[in-house]
């Protein structure tokens, strides 16, 4: 499958959300080489250490509950549709993987 660029991914994600928030979409993590990976921006040694501790926790927790962690596969790209509401920001998140919508979710 050809590598999708952010524009392609945004188009896929928009199809998964209500029409009135489609224009709000923005790609926030991407495997696209030329695109800035916002989630990793500014990660220094301290944050990397935090990420390592978190990965250890996940591995230990998976063992504890009998979960089989997924194999490393193609990156998931997160597309967010931040909607300012009377109850605060209620952002709809779309995870896109291999050109398909993997999950759509938001805070209640």
């Amino acid at each position: 499958m050809a590598t999708l660029n952010n524009s392609d991914i945004l188009k896929i994600a928009r199809e998964a959300v209500p029409e009135h928030i489609r224009a709000l979409g923005q790609v926030v993590t991407s495997s696209e080489p030329s695109a800035p990976a916002v989630a990793l921006a500014g990660v220094g040694p301290k944050k990397r250490a935090g990420a390592a501790a978190r990965n250890t926790l996940i591995a230990d927790l998976a063992k504890h509950v009998g979960a089989k962690l997924p194999k490393a596969t193609a990156d998931v790209t997160a597309v967010e549709f931040p909607e300012q509401t009377a109850l605060g920001l209620r952002t709809t998140v779309v995870h896109v993987k291999n050109g398909k919508v993997e999950r759509v979710f938001k805070r209640g």
């Binding site: 009135h20 230990d60 009998g66 979960a67 109850l87 605060g88 952002t91 979710f105 938001k106 209640g108």
Partner: protein, 351 residues
């Protein structure tokens, strides 16, 4: 069952009524006095007890929660910096994984519902009887339109559920017949929106799917205040439904007048499940993800006859087993989901 109580704080808070309150607390089970202990000290004391559920007595002023960093803070505009949680009280000290999948069932009976000893004594009377009270037949389910799929998924796991979840209806205290819909029912699942600021936190909110749909006040503590929920088992997938801390409060502490979980307990509910912070809700596919997935598993365990706090403990482990096997991009969301899920009420109450 072990009743975890700071007797010194109870005496200090309730003054002349302190001994009477302690006597009522003693009817719940074997009292373990944790006076003067930090949360870490209480955790170590509980870990040294024999097998059995632990029931924390009182609000955060009597037994403080653990405060943990929110695993999804800053992700997708999640502004919950910390997560108050009782889960570490069910963990072995030094084993962080048990804060997410505890080894001991834990619940809390908050005393915040009313500001006086008489109110807490009345709540304790309900709770002492809770394990022997038969759950009434019938159910009440309500969700925001945009969460209809997730509400339907939980509905499918709720033993004895009847009808379908109500979607985004306006619910005013003055509406005729509305309290009759709630009163006398035994099973509740609510998936409305929630707020973490006053005065809007006294309500849960419906919302349609139309463009720029406004939030609709759908269920409020005041409405529950007029309802009879004796013997009910209640689950919330809503944001902030089990939030007991008040900052930044403008109008005082959380009570049954402005907090839906406390309102349910003070009106006779045996047990309430909810989240202290904002819940993530799946919006597509089988909707079996995040907060609603956990609540569906709680109902599954309750349907097997498991006691309330044990049902939540088992549900957390079962949820994590599935969630951690799925995409790594969702793992932090799964951690938040289990960390903030709490059980309020008698740990041995059953469906």
């Amino acid at each position: 069952m072990f009743v975890i109580c700071s007797t010194a704080r109870v005496r200090a808070k309730y003054g002349a009524s302190g001994e009477k309150v302690l006597k009522a607390i003693g009817r719940l089970g074997q009292v373990v006095d944790v006076s003067g202990q930090s949360p870490e000290g209480i955790q170590a004391q509980i870990a040294g007890l024999q097998v059995g559920p632990a029931c924390l007595i009182g609000g955060y002023d009597l037994i403080p929660p653990f405060m943990r960093a929110n695993p999804t803070f800053g992700e997708s505009h999640d502004d919950d910096k910390d997560v108050p949680t009782d889960a570490p009280y069910g963990a072995t000290p030094g084993k962080p994984v048990e804060e997410y999948a505890p080894s001991r069932a834990v619940s809390r009976i908050p005393d915040d519902a009313t500001p006086d000893a008489a109110g807490f004594l009345a709540l304790l009377a309900h709770q002492v009887a809770a394990p022997t009270i038969i759950t009434p037949k019938g159910s009440f389910e309500e969700a925001a339109d945009e969460f209809a799929g997730a509400a339907g998924m939980v509905h499918g796991s709720m033993p004895g559920a009847v009808g379908k979840p109500k979607l985004s209806p306006p619910g005013k205290v003055s509406d005729a017949g509305l309290t009759a819909l709630l009163s006398g029912k035994g099973r509740f699942h609510i998936l409305l929106h929630g707020a973490n600021f006053d005065p809007d936190w006294d309500s849960l909110w419906g919302r349609g799917t139309a463009a720029n749909a406004k939030f609709i006040r759908a269920l409020s503590a005041q409405l529950i205040d007029l309802s009879d929920m004796r013997g009910a088992v209640v689950s919330f997938s809503s944001c902030y439904s089990a939030m007991l801390d008040a900052a930044p409060a403008l109008e005082g502490a959380r009570t049954a007048k402005n907090q839906v979980a406390l309102a349910c307990l003070s009106h006779g509910a045996k047990v309430v499940f909810g989240a202290t912070r904002s819940n993530w809700i799946g919006m597509d596919g089988d909707f079996n993800s995040f907060g609603p997935a956990l609540m569906a598993l709680v109902w599954t365990q309750l349907g097997k006859g498991k006691p309330a706090a044990e049902a939540l403990r088992l549900a957390k482990a079962a949820y994590l087993k599935v969630a951690l096997s799925q995409s790594a991009s969702e793992h932090d969301y799964a951690l938040k989901t289990v960390l903030q899920a709490q059980c309020y009420g008698h740990p041995e109450a059953t469906l």
